[in-house]
């Protein structure tokens, strides 16, 4: 299985820079997700990997082979599309066999292979049906079978699960991941669903407006988001942000302050801020699970009042408004908290679990 290397890749549609100078690498057998909101260039990138779009600039390498001018049929790729793109006039069998027919394979061999892959994906009983006669989940499996049948070196997925209902999506998520692990095929998976990317991929490329915001493992992009975009795009509920903070020092202690808010900073954090190039304005970020509710004031935190409670069964999300700034934040409550609407509480932040971004560049400082 090849290593995919993308170097300074660009794709312009007229004046629109759909993909703007991106580089990343997908290792042999790795499962990488391209994650971003719609229109961020992730699908365009995938179509360039497939050879359907020609890059405006830059290079795509499969191992030591430059692929820029190689048509899709010679790339040894399998692809699954969002709408499955099954051929409606062919039976499921013919759909799956279609890539093999292109290779002029013997009919016996085709039959054997189709039945093998159909068995693996549990669609053997559907082979005589037309795509219009089977359910969305089944169509999805057929599309997968068609992508796998020619034993591709690279698998490309274009939001394959977004047309399924939530329950089926969760199931297929695990199944695709297992399949990829078993087969060890280098895979690139486009999605706008951060949960999909987090659960399935070994590494995630986060896209925004044709550029790469961050490339890292799910843990890295979650724990150490490089900028505000990644911080807010990944995680559900998103990371809480308190904007427009100033950095001051009083009596040897460091604070982030706004009009009605005063947050004492640990020494190491203060040091990082002082060492960084910054605009003088800061954004504080913390994950909903990294804060605690308390009744009395303690060293690092701020006061807020309860705005709305959202019980999720297992968890409880407390929506709070920060007193002074009126910013809405969400916090996962510890079990058995006893709070009421409009109650005033202290939000206690944890050392090492806060992120500070520069207001202007929106890049992470610590």
């Amino acid at each position: 299985m090849p290593t995919i290397r993308v170097v300074n890749l660009k794709k312009y549609f007229g004046k629109v820079k759909a993909v703007d100078n991106i580089s990343f690498e997908v290792k042999d057998g790795e499962f990488v997700a391209l994650l971003g909101p719609s229109g961020c260039g992730k699908t365009t990138t995938l179509l360039m990997l497939a050879g359907i779009y020609k890059p405006t600039g830059g290079e795509i390498w499969f191992d030591d082979q430059l692929m820029n001018n190689v048509p899709p049929k010679y790339r040894e790729i399998g692809m699954v599309f969002q709408n499955y793109a099954l051929y409606p006039h062919m039976t499921v069998y013919e759909n799956i066999a279609f890539p093999l027919r292109a290779k002029k394979m013997e009919e016996n061999e085709i039959k054997k292979r189709v039945h093998d892959v159909a068995k693996k994906l549990m669609i053997e009983n559907l082979l005589d049906r037309k795509p219009g006669q089977i359910s969305g989940g089944q169509q999805q499996r057929v599309a997968l079978a068609r992508a796998l049948i020619k034993q591709p070196k690279v698998l490309l997925f274009d939001e394959p699960l977004s047309n399924l209902d939530a329950k089926l999506r969760m199931m297929m998520r695990a199944e695709i991941k297992k399949l990829q692990e078993d087969l060890g095929i280098t895979s690139v998976y486009v999605t706008h669903d951060q949960a999909e990317a987090m659960t399935m991929a070994s590494r995630i490329v986060v896209f925004s407006r044709g550029k790469i915001m961050q490339y890292g493992t799910p843990d890295e992009v979650y724990r150490k988001p490089k900028n505000i975009f990644v911080a807010t795009f990944i995680g559900n509920p998103a990371m809480n942000l308190i904007r427009n903070l100033d950095y001051i020092k009083e009596k040897g202690k460091a604070f982030l302050v706004s009009e009605n808010l005063r947050l004492e900073l640990p020494e190491d954090v203060a040091k990082k801020i002082e060492e960084s190039k910054n605009s003088g304005k800061f954004i504080l970020g913390f994950r909903p699970e990294d804060a605690k509710i308390d009744q009395k004031e303690s060293d690092m935190g701020f006061w807020a009042y309860v705005y709305v409670l959202e019980p999720l069964g297992r968890d409880l999300i407390i929506n709070l408004k920060v007193i002074g700034t009126e910013e809405l934040i969400k916090i996962f409550a510890e079990d058995e908290v006893n709070i009421k609407k409009d109650e005033k509480v202290f939000v206690k932040l944890q050392h090492g679990k806060i992120h500070i971004f520069d207001s202007e560049t929106e890049e992470l400082i610590i």
């Binding site: 497939a50 049929k73 399998g78 599309f81 709408n83 051929y87 006039h89 219009g132 068609r146 020619k150």
Partner: protein, 281 residues
């Protein structure tokens, strides 16, 4: 609660009135066909009542009528024109429509606008120019001249129609074919073309019918009786140099319309089936 007679039967009354109105609107057409068929089997008519039944009007089927060409030869000519126009049009529009729909070439937009404008021109206004062109190409009094003329005049519009059908096929379908190991042309032939079958059927039917019913160009550019088609034959029964033979006119008229009606029965069924079972999502 007491409901009035109208309220109790509102749905039924509404449907009854609807049918009545529809019948009133369509009756002129239905009645005229009805009259035509009756007339072809009668010596004369008093309103809608035949005075005496006969099959003499249909004699052209089994005997040659003086002053007219053989009906079967004429029918063959008509079918030849209709089928050739159909083949030309299907061949050109199935490719041209794809190009207009899928390729981004310079002048594509203006070309499509131009096609619309072109279609607004009545072809009769081109008559004189066409005469010179046909004469130059040595295609006057030749059915090939008519076929090429007809096909070329209709291809732009039919291409536009086919483009619409191609537009309905998602790009992913095509990409899937490319990824599956086929060339663009193979994908078109094996995946895309079968999916626009309804479009091809529509184009084929309209092309066939327009060829079958062509009159103006035949009347103008065909001189020899051996190249007559049925429309010219019907025209001749009204006659410039003889008395109109209404019996013959009706019989030939019915004969002329018959294949079209039969064709339409077959194809409309086929087309409806295709649209319902067509491409999903």
């Amino acid at each position: 609660m007491r409901l009035s007679f109208y309220q109790r039967n509102a749905d039924k009354i509404r449907i009854f009135l609807f049918i009545l109105i529809m019948f009133a609107i369509t009756s002129p057409i239905i009645l005229s066909y009805f009259w035509l068929i009756l007339r072809s089997f009668s010596v004369d008519m008093k309103g809608f009542i035949p005075t005496q039944l006969t099959v003499k009007n249909w004699r052209f089927l089994w005997s040659e009528i003086k002053g007219y060409p053989n009906i079967w030869k004429t029918t063959l000519n008509t079918a030849f024109v209709a089928i050739m126009v159909m083949l030309f049009e299907v061949f050109m529009t199935s490719m041209g429509g794809y190009a207009l729909s899928r390729f981004d070439f310079p002048g594509r937009t203006s070309m499509m606008k131009f096609i619309l404008v072109l279609h607004a021109f009545p072809s009769v206004s081109l008559m004189v120019a066409i005469y010179y062109v046909l004469k130059y190409l040595n295609l006057l009094d030749n059915l090939w001249g008519i076929i090429l003329l007809k096909a070329s005049l209709e291809t732009p519009w039919a291409t536009w129609v086919m483009k619409g059908f191609y537009d309905g096929i998602p790009w992913e379908m095509e990409w899937a074919g490319l990824v599956d190991g086929y060339s663009r042309f193979q994908v078109w032939r094996k995946v895309i073309l079968p999916l626009v079958k309804p479009g091809v059927a529509v184009t084929a039917v309209f092309a066939f019918l327009s060829g079958w019913s062509e009159f103006i160009f035949i009347n103008t550019f065909i001189f020899s009786q051996e190249f007559w088609t049925l429309s010219k034959y019907v025209k001749a029964t009204i006659g410039d140099f003889r008395f109109a033979d209404y019996g013959l006119l009706s019989a030939v008229g019915v004969f002329y319309a018959l294949p079209t009606i039969i064709l339409f029965f077959f194809v409309s069924k086929y087309m409806i089936k295709l649209t319902i079972g067509g491409v999903k999502g």
